[in-house]
Structure formats: C-alpha cells, structure tokens
C-alpha cells in the first residue's frame, strides 16, 4: 500500500464530526475537524466536497467564520441520499473532506461600498461567512444590509444569530417568509420585496445574492430597479458536481464551470445565460 498521493485532488482527507446541531426541521449544521491539517483556510462563499463512507460525496458550502479555519462549519439540508446520510452523522463520526474549492464572494473588492446580501432559504448559509468577514472589519464598509426570505417562520435558519444581528445598529436585517400562521408578526412575501425597503446607496453598492435560481433572477431585477449597477451584482450558482476541479463536466453553465469559475459569479459574466431555460 502506497502512502497518500497528496497531489491527487480527488482524494478526500479523512476527518470527523465535532458537533452537530439541528437548525430547522430538515437542516443541520455540522462542525468538522479540518482533516489532515490544523487549519483549512477558506474564503467566504467557497465549498468543500464532503464524503460519507460508502454513500457518496456532495458539495457543501462553508457556513462558518473564515477567521476560524480550524473548524469547518457546514449547514446541510437533508434532501438527497448523501445529504441525509451527512446530516445523520453524530459527533466523532468519520467523514471525508476535499477543499475548499471555488471562487467566493468579492468581499475585499466590496470594501468602501455599501453591501447588500440577499438570501433565500438555505442560501443564507454560503452568505454567512461573508457577513462574518464584513462584520469583523465593519469600519471598512458602508451600510450593510441582510435581506432574508424563508419558506415559513419554522424554516428560518440561524434564528438566534439573526436576532443578535437585528439588534446591531450598524447592520440592517430584514426577514420575510413565504407563508406563516397568525402568530407571525413579521413580513410575509418573497425576499426580493425587501429590496425597496432597505437603505443603501444604489450608486455605490455591491450585492451578494444566494438562493434558488428563480429567486436570484427576481433579486437581480429588484436590484436593477433600485438602481444598482449590474456589474456590482454577484450570484452563487448551484449545479451538479462530481469533482469540484473542472474535470467531470457536470457543473457547466455555458462556458463557466460552476465549481472552479464559481460558485460565485458576477451577474455580468452569466447574464446571457441566466434568462435562458435548461442551460
């Protein structure tokens, strides 16, 4: 048996689950050891490939603080065979990790400008590291706005953290849900309806959008309506991925490989494709 081939980007590093926390009914946050190294530094918006023994491997965004690369935090919605197996792993369970992969949010380039983050559903998870990054360097940014839409009050991710963020005076947080019972005192409607309510300077704003594709299309329309330059809008795309290194071909979105050119892509780069069906 030969020792590991460190140059093989398809080889996962074995690691283990540190903690597991239920966020909402079908969504769990797993904290992993970095695997084979003391730290696995990542940029906000990047993802890891997580392997469950014998079941398979899927891309999962890093949802933790990039300032803590010794903890790999992933928020997983249990919807498929691998994500269900992953979400079921308890502390100390073995898991394989490859990564981090991909291009993240342009948090450095956004310094000096207002930043609007628009999240739909689980899309809040890949945006959270960007918010951590910005809040830890708060003085370098203008106004910062988080607009978040969930399906129902019971589906709101990171609820306690959102409450904490809401209390900050240097961060505008607005939450809406698609549908709710009479005990919900907040807004009902889609996340993009929040854009006209938020206060930011459209002429000097960078927008980060992550959610279902249809939601992102509407978010882009709302941002443009508000006067945000399309060159300042970034989206995180989702496609099938098997390798994360641009070799398997599955994640192609026109000429872009979502795994290595994205997942965060500027709207300018994909605008001709986003409006087409089945690209």
């Amino acid at each position: 048996m030969r020792l590991s081939m460190p140059s093989d980007p398809m080889r996962p590093a074995p690691t283990r689950v540190l903690t597991r926390r239920r966020e909402v009914a079908d969504t769990w946050t797993l904290e992993l050891e970095p695997g084979g190294t003391a730290e696995r530094p990542f940029a906000p918006g990047q993802f890891n490939m997580l392997y469950v023994f014998g079941v398979g491997e899927i891309p999962i965004s890093l949802s933790g603080d990039p300032a803590s690369p010794h903890r790999q935090v992933h928020t997983v919605r249990a919807v498929g065979p691998v994500s269900r197996a992953l979400a079921a792993l308890g502390p100390d369970a073995a898991v394989g990790v490859r990564g981090p992969f991909g291009q993240g949010w342009p948090v450095e380039a956004a310094a000096g400008a207002d930043v609007v983050l628009i999240a739909g559903g689980l899309g809040l998870a890949p945006l959270r590291p960007a918010l951590y990054y910005i809040l830890s360097r708060r003085a370098r940014y203008g106004r910062v706005v988080l607009l978040y839409g969930a399906r129902s009050p019971g589906d709101i991710l990171f609820r306690r953290e959102l409450e904490r963020w809401r209390r900050r005076t240097d961060l505008e947080v607005r939450v809406t849900v698609d549908h709710a019972g009479s005990d919900w005192l907040g807004r009902v409607g889609v996340a993009t309806n929040l854009v006209p309510l938020a206060s930011f300077d459209p002429g000097d704003t960078v927008a980060f959008v992550c959610g279902p594709e249809v939601m992102m299309r509407f978010a882009v329309a709302a941002l443009r309506e508000a006067g945000v330059d399309t060159a300042a809008i970034y989206l995180s795309m989702e496609r099938n991925m098997k390798c994360a290194i641009g070799h398997c071909g599955h994640c192609q979105f026109g000429p872009t490989f979502v795994c290595k050119d994205g997942p965060v892509l500027s709207f300018e780069r994909i605008r001709g494709l986003l409006s087409r069906k089945e690209i």
Partner: protein, 378 residues
C-alpha cells in the same frame, strides 16, 4: 515534424520489428485490430493482429468493414475506439476507504500506471490527445491518473491514406497530415512496388527506436509519394465543417428552432459522447463490500445526454432532449473554445457514424449557418 533528411523507409518486417522493440522496452503495444466487426484498439503482438486488407465504409449512422484489394495495415479511417480509453479509462478505481468504528482510512491505488505504445494514431487523434491534455493537465488541478499514463506513452502516428465517409479533419485544421505530438510518424505506401512505410521521427527517442529497426534512407521519390498520399486524402473528406466562426454562430442561435428539429431525431443514447475522442465527462460511483467496512470509489465515463448528469435537488437542469443535444454540441464547438482555447472537435466523424439515427454535427452547423445567410439576403 521530423526533418526530411531523417526520413527512413521500412518494410512490413520493420513494422513487426518496431512492435518487438517497443515490447522489449517494456511497453504494452496497443494498435488497431478487428474486433466485433469493427476496427478497434487493443493489445498487439505482431503485424498479424492489424486489420490487414480491411477498410471501413462510413456514413451517417453507418459503419461496415470492407475488404480492400491489397494488404494495407492502415487502410481504414477510424473506428469506434479512441486512445482516450487508455489515457482516460472508461472505468477507473480512484481509491478505497476502510472503516473501523469511527475511524476511516483512505487506501490509495498502488498499481504502477501502464506504459503504452500506441501504433496507428491519426492526426485527428493526436489533436484529440492535445485537447484532453488541456482539460486534465492545463488547469489549476491536474489529474494524476491521466498524467501518469500520458507521460509514459510512445506514439507511432500514421498519416491517413484514405478519408472516411464522415471525416472532416481537413476543415477543422486537425489533419490528415500529422504535425506534432508523435515519436514516429508512418506513411504507408501500399502500391507502386513493395509494401513499405515512410518513417519520420518526431522526437529524439523516436529516432533512437528507429535506429533499432532495419531501415534504409528514404528515396526522394518515396517522400514525394507519401506527401501526395496525404494530399489526396485531404481532398477526399466525406464531410466538411462550414467555414465560418462556428463558436459565435452557436452563441447567436441558442434558441433556434433547429434544436427542436434535432430533438425529434436524437435518442439521447450518448453514443456520440462515448466515441468522441475529446469528450471527457465522468461521474463517480461509491459502493461498499458486504461487510460494510470497505468502500470503493470508481470514476466512469458519463454523458451529458443522461438526465442524471445535470440533476440537482428539484430536478434535472436539462430535462429536454433539445437542451441536452444543445449542451453537447455547443460545448463541443463553442464554449470549449472559451474554456480551453481550442475547439473540442477534431473532425474524426465518429459521432456521425456511430449515431444510430445519423445526426451529423456538420449538417446541423450548416443549417444554422445557411439560415443566417438566407436572413442576410432577404
């Protein structure tokens, strides 16, 4: 291309000797041979394994072997196989994982990568290998499995003496004359005297191997004959890619009604992707043994024509036949250029011959092109 003065002449005995020399140097010699009614690539022990006296008749959805009236070794175009099945195997075990309790260990594959000598590599195929080099070696990540196989190959190229009915390398600028990327290049001269082969070394190593063969300097007349053979092949291509900016043409026509027309014919079988020498897409399979302690990860060729290929939670991104054919063709001819700086098509014609309904990539481009030209006229 080897210098003309280096050109040598060998006979059939010299080709036999070439196989023996390469075998003695530790290569697994792979070459053309008749298998299941087609000329495929497989292990070769001697010249008797070549498709001696066979040629192939090809057209849209059509491939038949036919007898030639001579004993040519390389008197055919290309078959369903390409060299990617050796450099980028159809199935490859990547690693295994062993679990005991909460511990997991990754077990790497320790097999020595095979050392292949390829005999009979055509110009289109050399270009296909160069294209896969860009995919697997040219980006930020390198595929170590491809690299170890690729770096070890010895390549004996062959200039095409016949063009197949679906060949269009001349219009893609990828043949039929081999230009680069070989150790030795052969041109088979089967008429006008003795059955012989002009040999041109492309590397110093190729020249060393040539020196071990019974050869004589090539007479100028044979060099001229060899050149004429390739020129004649270039003039007899069965197909032609329209001479226009194809990448831009496809970008302009993503919603053309022709895609619906193709969808009426396409069976989404994926044959075109399997026979294509540049199609590189793969999927992975994970399985465990019966004890549940050993898991295996296998990489296998995949096709953008399957529904699974683009599946994400909620459904397949490309569920219609129209979208899947469009993805394959626009990737091959258009977005590939943006990704890798080259077209993904080398004009070998395999996708035309092996399409069960004879969909012709050159014809689909021609329809889009002529439709635009008509639009300009009106």
């Amino acid at each position: 291309m080897g210098k003309t003065s280096d050109a040598a002449l060998i006979t059939r005995v010299g080709v036999q000797r070439l196989i023996e020399v390469l075998t003695a140097r530790g290569y697994q010699v792979i070459g053309p041979t008749v298998r299941n009614g087609a000329i495929g690539y497989d292990a070769i022990a001697g010249i008797g394994d070549f498709p001696v006296g066979w040629t192939d008749e090809q057209d849209g959805g059509h491939y038949r072997l036919r007898r030639r009236d001579d004993a040519a070794f390389f008197g055919y175009a290309v078959g369903p196989h390409s060299w990617k099945r050796y450099l980028h195997p159809p199935r490859l075990r990547l690693w295994r994982a062993q679990r005991s309790g909460d511990e997991m260990r990754i077990i790497d594959e320790d097999d020595e990568p095979p050392r292949y000598a390829f005999i009979g590599v055509r110009a289109c195929e050399l270009n296909a290998i160069a294209i896969q080099d860009k995919v697997f070696l040219g980006g930020p990540y390198v595929d170590p499995h491809y690299r170890s196989r690729r770096e070890a190959i010895f390549t004996v190229a062959v200039n095409c003496a016949v063009a197949g009915g679906t060949c269009f390398c001349a219009s893609m600028g990828t043949g039929p004359k081999v230009e680069a990327g070989f150790d030795l290049a052969l041109t088979e001269i089967v008429h006008d005297g003795e059955h012989r082969f002009l040999v041109e070394p492309g590397t110093d190593f190729g020249a060393q191997v040539l020196a071990e063969l019974p050869y004589r300097p090539a007479p100028p007349a044979d060099i001229d004959t060899a050149r004429a053979i390739v020129e004649r092949t270039a003039q007899s291509m069965g197909r032609e890619m329209p001479a226009t900016d194809v990448p831009a043409l496809l970008r302009r026509n993503l919603e053309h009604s022709r895609w619906d027309d193709v969808a009426e014919r396409c069976l989404t079988c994926g044959n075109c992707t399997m026979v294509c020498p540049t199609c590189f897409c793969t999927s992975v399979e994970d399985e465990t043994d019966l004890s549940g302690t050993m898991a295996t990860r296998t990489r296998r060729w995949d096709s953008c024509f399957t529904m699974d290929f683009s599946y994400i939670h909620g459904g397949s991104v490309r569920s219609s036949t129209r979208a899947r054919y469009r993805q394959w063709m626009t990737h091959k001819l258009s977005t590939w250029v943006e990704q890798f700086g080259t077209s993904g098509c080398v004009g070998c014609g395999r996708c035309i011959s092996w399409c069960p309904v004879g969909i012709d990539i050159t014809e689909e481009v021609r329809v889009l092109h002529e439709d635009e030209c008509d639009g300009d006229d009106s």
